[in-house]
Amino acid sequence: MLAKHKKGSKVKRTSLAKDENIAVATFFPVFLTTKTQELLHCCVGEDVSAENPLKLLQKDDIISDMKTRAGVSDFHPAKHIILDYPEEELLLVYDNNFQYGQNFFLVTTQEAKEKLLNSKKEVAGLEKQDIEVDDEEELTHFEYHTPEPQPWFSLGSEMEIEELTQIVSQQKLVVRATRAMKFFGKPISFSDLDPTDPRAGVVNCAPYEDATHTLSRLQMDCAVQASPVLNNNYSQTAWRYPRNAHTQYCPRMLTETERTTIQKSHEFIEFLTSRARRMVLALQQNYIVDVFSDEWVALPGKEELVERRSDDQLKEIQSFIDPTFSKDESITCIHWHPTLHDVVVLSIMEPLPFDEHVKQTTQSVPSRLLVWQFSDPAQPKVLLESVAGTYCFEFCPSDQNLIAGGCRNGQIVLWDITSHTHRLMKQKTEKVKDSIAATETGLKEVCKPPSEKQCAASSTESGHHMSVTDVHWLPGYYKLSCFGVPLMNKTKLCLQLLSCSVDGTILFWDIRPAKSAEPLERRRLSEKGGVKTRRLKYLDLKCHPLFKVSVPSLSGGSDCSLTCLSLHIDTEKSSQAKEARKVLDNVDYADLQQPPLCNAKILDDIVTNIFVGTKDGEVVSTSWRLQKDSGGKFTSSKPHFVIPTHHGSIVTMERSPFCCDLLLCVGGDSFSLWKEGVQDGALQVSRCETHLYTSGCWSPSRPAIFFLGRSDGMLEVWDLLEEPTPIKFHNVTSSAVTNIRVQSEYSHVFLFSVLTFSASTSIADLHTSYPTQIMQNHLPSTQYY
């Protein structure tokens, strides 16, 4: 029974299941309360049950129920279904299993209703039948229905099918081949033809190795540029509202207490002391030296120099005219005092022409040497008397108090002005006092200047016979033996002098006592006794010349009359000797002895040449060394040359202070320049001027300048660098200029003394600027070199 029921239920279930698909939309679940069930006569368990779920309801009943109970009615949710239902009877189905949510459900559609009703009947009918029939009816229930074709869903199988299908893609070629008629019916054999066979007519394109394919590219130019990734960036603080961050209206100051504490601190004191030292040094420096002064600007400008140029005339500073002593007499020689710069010594004589000087040799007219000082132009300071007229003189280079002069009668005279030097020097400093004293006394007493006699004179027999024309001291760095051999002079004193005269001889003298003099002690005793004797007294009238050099004249025969001579003086050696002499005190010549020959050392580098000028205008160069004659006797050597140069007698022969072998020779109406060693002739002879020259002098500070005095009183200034005319003419005096001496001590101012026949001496100042800018004293610089 159960099995059958099961099957039946199974069927039912299946039919119900089928209906369910339809019924989802059509069944409306509704919950009916017990009260509603009683009203509608569908109580559960009584009218409706599981086996009999169906109940037909009247539509009107439901509507009346809904109206009576309005919203509370159970049918309220299905209100619209009920109202819309077309038939009068609604099917209510009891849902025991709550299949659709509620205990009842309404069937909303007619078809479902019918189905359900029918199925119920079938089930009822089936159930009835089931009970009756069993296994036999089972097989007949399986009704085979042919499956209906479903619409086909592609699942990918068609692709494979398509791939495997063979479709004719190309149109088949139709080749129609015909044979000749005769061959019809005969068997045909088709065969394959290899395509490589040439009959095939197939050209085979065989593959070949292409060379380009094997080429492997090893290197390839590839350009690479490294470009840095640059990024310019800037930032700026945004100062949106510019305003002062800090303001200060008055300076900050320290308070007094702070200041005092600082000043008391140790390090402050240290700082101040150390810094102050340096500061004081700097402050002192500032007012000692002005380091920023511009010296170039401070130099005199061009305008000043131009002014000076025009003002380069000789200015006469002083003129010494002495009415008492030198009236109507001529000045023959003048020398500056070697050390006292304002003392001038001059020799005066009768104003006779030179020729008459020569003649009147025997006549001994007493004459004087005047010593002038600048401070007293009216009177000479000292008068030096001599036995005869002194034609020339010279200061001893080593002893400033000794003057050697040559007289007209052939004598050599020595003066010693030691006693007056002191007075002269004193005079210099006490000039002011004297002038005051003089004004006081009213110049009533004109004191006669002291005179000094000569201290020694040479012997008359062995000296010159005729007038001595030139006297020179030998420089102190050598001395001569009695044969003219230069020897070394240890004492560096000038003890020898030479003189030339009109009689054609040059004599060498020595002021030391001769060997044959009295023994030393006895002499001393006699001298010491009482009276203060003159120096060099031993020489008086006993002086003999060392040796004699005679100069033969050109024409032969009688000797020529010599007028002046010039020695070679080595300036360096003479200055050395001067230095050596400074340490020596006043020397008593009496103590010096003429040393024996063998003691002294022979000097070989002394130039023994002398230039001599004659009356006839010849220039003679000779050496004073005596030579052995054929007979063994020592005679004077032959002169190197005798050249007639000038037309008149030679008045001056002077060596240039800068070049010691350059000689200026003035005579007649021309001058000539000679050089030591050049034996052919003069370096240069000037052309004959219109006037006679009477004197000449080199400038001691400018190398190429010399001064010539003319017979008409003009002074010519010659510059060798600016030949050929004299650069300046100065009219000095009315009468002839006899002697020029230039003071060399003052570097920027020249002081001339120009002598004339009329016994007036004028000291002239040649202005500095001339011919070009600033004068310089070249002499010290050349000596330095």
């Binding site: 300076p251 900050r252 320290l254 000043q263 101040l272 002391t273 340096r278 402050l283 002005d290 920023f292």
Partner: protein, 96 residues
């Protein structure tokens, strides 16, 4: 204190000295012989200049240091002696 006075007097009595000022490193005058306005002006100017000069010297050679500074003008000369913490300023008239 007496040393300070003596030293300053020594500087002051040199020929041509117009004024002496001592300032500290911040430019505040410690001691001065001139009036306040001038002092303050000189102090600020010289402090800056000395600092600049020192930095210039040390830039060229770091081993070097400024020892003395002199500013010479037409009318006068200003001498500045710097130290670690202080500055000594002296104004002197020149000869020209």
């Amino acid at each position: 204190m007496a040393e300070v006075e003596e030293t300053l007097k020594r500087i002051q009595t040199q020929k041509g000295v117009v004024g002496v000022i001592v300032i500290n490193s911040e430019g505040m005058p410690i001691r001065s012989t001139m009036d306040n306005n001038t002092t303050v002006q000189y102090a600020s100017l010289m402090q800056q200049l000395a600092a600049k000069a020192r930095s210039a010297v040390r830039d060229v050679d770091p081993q070097n240091d400024l020892t003395f500074l002199r500013i010479r003008s037409r009318k006068n000369e200003i001498l500045v002696a710097p130290e670690k913490d202080y500055l000594l300023i002296v104004i002197q008239n020149t000869n020209e």
